[in-house]
Symmetry: C2
Subunit: 230 residues, 2 copies
DNA sequence: CGCCCGTTTGATAAGTATCAAGTAGCGTGG
DNA sequence: CCACGCTACTTGATACTTATCAAACGGGCG
C-alpha cells in the first residue's frame, strides 16, 4: 500500500464543507497562531503524563518540541500506541467529553495548549477555524485507517513502513533520530521488541537502512524500501 | 480492550466545537432529513461499485437498506476492508477531493446520496450541520482507531470482537444475519478465510455462539465473549 | 434436482512470540 | 573524568499461532 503520510496538521487541502482554505500550510506554522488562539506553553519531562483515559477533554495540544505518544491500555496489560506526535502536529481531539486515549511525553517536550472552550467559541465565530478542526478530524481518521492497513502487513513491512514514514515527518536531515524506544515501536506496530529489533537488523543487512546508533538510523535506499513495503 | 462500537451516525454527543446538540439521535433517523439535504435514493446490486479510489469525492452516502464495504486494494493484490456500513450509517467522508477508498454494495443495497456541494452550502449556513459533519469525522477517526486496536489481537479475539460488534449494530434480533462473506470478514480482520472459519468453529465449540447457518449466527453467551475479547 | 460457489476441515510450512542470555549505550555519582 | 550500574537493545533456541495448499462438504439459486 502507499502509506502516504498524513500529518494531522496543518489541514492539507479543502476539507468537506469546502468553506476552507483554512490555515496556510506553511511549515512549522502553528495551527492556532493565526487566530486569537495563542495558547499557553507547557513543558513535560520524559515519560510525564499529559492526560489519561477517562480524564475530561479540556484542551487541544500542538507539539512544539519533543515527541508524544497517545495510547490505550488493554485489560490484559498490553499497551497499544495509537500514534506518535512530532513537532508541528496536533493531538488531543476526541469525539467525547472524556478522553479515550492517554498521552505521555516521550522525551523532554514542549507543547502549546489551547483550551477547548476557547476553540469552540472561536469556531462559532470564524468558519475558517471550524474548517481547520474539520480537517484535523478527517486527517486523524485517515491516519488511523493507514495505521490499520499497516497492521495487516508482515513484520518486515511494518517496520520498514514505520521508518519511512517517521523519516518523512522528521524532516530531511539524515541520519534520523528516533525519539522512542523499541518497546514503543513494538507497541505501535503490534509486534514484540525482539521482532522489531530483528527486522531492523534484517533491513540493515539488505543495506536498505544503516544503524549509526540504536536510536539513530539512516535510510540508504528509499526506493527499495518503498518497493518492499508497497 | 473495550471495543465500544462507534457508529458513524448519528453524532453521539457534544463534539469539539460544542456548538452541537446536532441531530436528534433517534434510531433510523436519517442524518440529512432534518435539513434541506434530503438527497436522492440510489439502488445497487450485489457487488456493484459505488465509487473507486481516485474518483472525485462528489457525495456523502447513508445506507438505507443492505450493506456496504469500503476498502483499499494493495499493490500485491491484497484487499483490506476498512469498514462495513449497515443501515443508518454514513460513509464517503474523506479528507481530500479524490477518494482514497473504494466502496461496493455487499448485497442489494439502497442508499441516500447527498451531494457534497449541497452539504458544504448548508454547513456554511447552519452551524448545526457543520457540527454534525465534525461529529461524523471524529467518530470515523475513533472507529478506525478501534479497528487498529483490533488488528493487534489474536485471531480468536478478532473474530469474537467482530461478531459482538456486528450484533450490536445489527439490532437485537437473534440470530443475526451476516451480510458479508467469510472472505470479506477475513479481509477486514487481517486473517485468511480458513482461519476465520476455524475461529467460528472454535467459538461454537465453546458454546459462546451458535451457527444456525453459515451466514446466520446467534450469540449465546455475550458475557463470555466480552470476557474473552477484553 | 443438480450445479456451483462459499464454507469447513485437514496436513504441513512459515512467521512471530516467548524465554533467556549477552552486549552496548548512557546517565549518575564518585 | 572515569567507573559503575542500569536500562535499552540485540541475538539465539524453541514453541505456538496462523498461513498455505488441498480436498471434501453443503446450501442456495437457477
Amino acid at each position: 500500500m502507499q502509506q502516504t503520510h498524513y500529518p494531522l496538521q496543518p489541514a492539507r487541502q479543502a476539507s468537506f464543507p469546502a468553506v476552507i482554505n483554512g490555515a496556510a500550510p506553511g511549515a512549522g506554522d502553528g495551527l492556532f497562531r493565526r487566530s486569537a488562539l495563542n495558547g499557553m506553553r507547557a513543558r513535560f519531562a520524559r515519560g510525564e503524563v499529559i492526560f489519561v483515559a477517562d480524564d475530561p477533554v479540556t484542551s487541544l495540544y500542538e507539539v512544539i518540541s519533543g515527541a508524544v505518544r497517545t495510547f490505550r491500555e488493554l485489560a490484559d496489560g498490553r499497551r497499544q500506541i495509537v500514534a506518535f506526535h512530532l513537532p508541528g502536529e496536533v493531538f488531543g481531539l476526541e469525539p467525547d467529553d472524556a478522553h479515550w486515549l492517554s498521552a505521555e511525553a516521550i522525551g523532554r517536550t514542549t507543547l502549546r495548549v489551547v483550551r477547548r472552550s476557547a476553540i469552540a467559541a472561536e469556531a462559532g465565530r470564524d468558519p475558517a477555524v471550524a474548517a481547520v478542526l474539520q480537517g484535523l478530524a478527517m486527517n486523524g481518521m485517515r491516519q488511523a485507517q493507514v495505521h490499520a492497513l499497516l497492521l495487516a502487513k508482515t513484520a518486515e513491512e511494518r517496520v520498514g513502513t514505520f521508518l519511512r514514514d517517521l523519516a518523512s515527518r522528521s524532516g530531511d536531515d539524515e541520519p534520523m533520530r528516533l525519539p522512542m524506544t523499541r518497546q514503543d515501536i513494538a507497541d505501535h506496530l503490534g509486534l514484540t521488541v525482539a521482532t522489531v529489533s530483528r527486522m531492523i537488523t534484517r533491513l540493515s543487512a539488505c543495506a536498505h537502512i544503516q544503524r549509526h546508533a540504536s536510536r539513530c538510523i539512516e535510510l540508504r535506499d528509499l526506493p527499495a524500501l518503498d518497493a518492499m513495503v508497497g
